[in-house]
Symmetry: C2
Subunit: 458 residues, 2 copies
């Protein structure tokens, strides 16, 4: 591959931006299993989802057949404020590693939400606005999704109610203030504003909250308030659809600049980034037109793919959401508190779970001190201080590049660099001080979660 | 002006990036007054500066004649990691204001230091490395400059010692950790590691420090350590030279896309951003080739241009640095603690001071609550949460655009958007909570600073 005259940052022109999302489900022989109703164990019908989700988003959630879905003009216009995002040639990292491998990263952090989450937030806000809704509710943990949704809602003048896990609300006041600057109402969860919040506060006085509880509160407010719906930033099929913009741009840039990726690597929490990044490449692989090695990277402390079960499970701890078939550690699994950064979700996108189950992608679990070593090396050579989540992918990309150094192979590696770590400096501080530790759950630890997976035949 | 088919983000190709800096002093009839030695009151000679500054940077500091100075390849390569920066058409802000004005912003925040400071940091680190030095020392207040310098030093594997004003060190731990992640040694100032630090700690037990004190400590360590020099992120001629990359890119993008600016507006603390942004446009104005309205925006609480004196003054409170002729509030002037964000410097670049004195640019002082109102409006419409500093320029640009709405004039306004506010959320929190207040110093307040300006005939 001739890379000599390549610019560092491979930008598409605005006119080359994709105008459709790509729905990888259309090319999957084994479709992802449908969401089921926890009471009836039957696939959820459109009408059953309507109290919770926006109509158009339900259609996208259920649509396993339409390959390309047009991006509405209003969303495209918003995308143009921060997209196309650059595919950057990591020349300084390559030099530092002294590897024959070619490393590129698709950087989604150049927007105020600091991550790729904005790609789906703006779509979900748009459809809510189009349906004439007053507002949306959601939960946020570390705050990337809540920030993205706040920005999207400010743009469409939609009301935005965010339930933020209490410990993050208190420890990440800056994230909270970004959301408030965009006009969102941010409530620490569990709150005293909902039945489920009051119940949890009564049962666990002084609790600092959990994502599962925040989801339950957000859903309760959505279904009990006139003109509100609930929105979610990962896991769902619709989210992967919106995030396909990442992969479509990446693929187009590869074609424009003559890059042929061998390995595409991304971090996986709920799967929104990885699913979007690999989508069009996976499509080629599914159709037998090309082959790529896809690597999903997850924390060793929350190893859904590598140590989870492929089974139906609740999407939330509170069991108010539907059940999904996915790689899961059990909805009661809670990662060790020593784990920094995101990727703490017990389950995984059904689409990615099916693809992994069918052998179309690999997964690796990595320990966090090694992840932060990679993050530091990347920051010092490439200038960008990466999010802890993204740094999982950087870790494995560096490992693969070092393998190339041993074998002399000139592989081309693409990293999904989902975001920046500017609001994650507490974790970096631990690392800088040498007080960061690793934690790998024992089989007994995992058994606690697994025991809670309901036994659904399917 | 036909803007219909303009993309939102006006990018130069990498091949169109400027390969020289532009030295506006070459086109000034009245050159900026030289730095003088506080003891002899004579212009500082090269040899007198050598213990403090790198040789090549002293040459640039003293060079009032060379119009274009080549950017070394290593610096150009680093620039390519985050430059060219986009000149963005603020279509959504225009719509929100319902103005016939055309608004563009040159965005310098898309790098981990979060501001334009990196443009000069990498140049200064490069020349220090080239001179065979071990490292550099500097001070930082809010932390943008310290972060930028840390990144630059990590890239060239130079030692970096940052004295960070103690109150910021404690209140902005995240900034501190970004610097540490890049390998910098960050010391709260006043420290017990220097004579001047020990003296100040003894005289003012429990002091939370000041920029003036941090400068003194950084200079002491530089001159007393083998292989170290001191570097500074603003005010100096050399810094404005490096920052001319902002204006050169802006001008090239204007030419490429057919934009003719009427008004160019930037915030002014020490002048590094504004001086860089306007440089090549000012050159045209000085040579009589074109006319532009340049507006320097400063906080009403620290009004160097609008209420300062044009006189020789010390650059630092500790009087260890040379004296410069500039618009100054007196080196003992300390802005009210209620003032959020940067732009707290008592003086101003000698270059900009001379140009302002000679009538080539205007200045406006704005109050901070109005600044944050503009910041919020910009964040909600354009997606980027701006730094408080940059928001001063946004305030005035919005005011000018609203004037156009009244008069029907279709003026073209360019804003220097120096950076993001991600590490300034304490100030946003004050604004969001409605507890932010304004402060305009009385003439008596200012007299305290003015009284300390030494009476140097020149």
């Amino acid at each position: 591959m001739e890379l000599k005259n390549l610019p560092y940052k491979l930008y598409l022109d605005e006119s080359e931006m994709p105008s459709t999302w790509y729905n990888v489900r259309a090319d999957m022989k084994n479709k992802p299993a449908p969401l089921i109703h926890p009471a009836t164990l039957q696939p959820l019908k459109f009408e059953e989802m309507q109290p919770i989700f926006c109509d158009e988003l339900i259609k996208q959630e259920l649509d396993n057949d339409t390959r390309y879905i047009e991006i509405p003009e209003e969303i495209l216009n918003f995308y143009k404020m921060y997209r196309p995002s650059p595919l950057t040639h990591a020349v300084f990292l390559e030099k530092a590693l002294d590897t024959p491998a070619h490393i590129f990263y698709k950087f989604e952090g150049n927007n105020t939400s600091g991550s790729h989450k904005l790609n789906s937030a703006i779509a979900q806000a748009y459809y809510a606005k189009k349906q004439g809704l007053k507002g949306v509710t959601t939960e946020t943990g570390a705050g990337q999704w809540g920030t993205a949704l706040s920005m999207a809602c400010a743009f469409f003048k939609l009301d935005c109610k965010v339930f933020m896990v209490k410990v993050s609300y208190e420890q990440k006041p800056f994230r909270r203030e970004v959301m408030r600057t965009y006009g969102a109402e941010v409530t620490p969860s569990p709150s005293m504003n909902t039945n489920v919040g009051r119940k949890i506060n009564a049962e666990h006085p002084g609790t600092t909250g959990s994502l599962g509880c925040a989801i339950s509160e957000a859903v309760e407010v959505a279904v009990s308030s006139e003109g509100y719906r609930y929105v979610l930033g990962s896991v769902l099929n619709q989210v992967l659809l919106h995030q396909s913009i990442i992969g479509l741009e990446t693929k187009k840039a590869c074609e424009k600049f003559g890059i042929k990726p061998d390995i595409i690597v991304g971090c996986a929490g709920g799967g929104s980034n990885l699913g979007g990044l690999i989508a069009p490449f996976m499509g080629e692989k599914l159709r037998g037109e090309a082959d790529y090695k896809f690597i999903a990277v997850e924390p060793a402390s929350c190893p859904s793919f590598t140590r989870g079960k492929f089974a139906y499970d609740f999407c939330d701890t509170g069991k108010v959401c539907p059940m999904a078939k996915m790689y899961t550690l059990g909805h009661d699994f809670i990662p060790s508190p020593n784990h920094a950064g995101g990727l703490r979700y017990h389950g995984m996108s059904s689409v990615l779970s099916q693809l992994y189950h069918d052998g179309y992608m690999e997964a690796r679990a990595v320990e966090q001190t090694k992840v932060f070593e990679a993050a530091e090396q990347f920051a010092r050579t490439e200038g960008i201080l990466p999010a802890p989540e993204s740094s999982h992918a950087i870790r494995v990309a560096i490992d693969e590049a070092l393998k190339c150094k041993e074998t002399g192979e000139e592989k081309t590696i693409i990293i999904g660099l989902t975001g920046t770590g500017y609001f994650d400096m507490l974790a970096y501080e631990q690392f800088n001080n040498g007080t960061m530790t690793d934690y790998i759950p024992t089989d007994d630890d995992l058994a606690v979660g697994f025991a809670k997976i309901p036994n659904v035949a399917k």
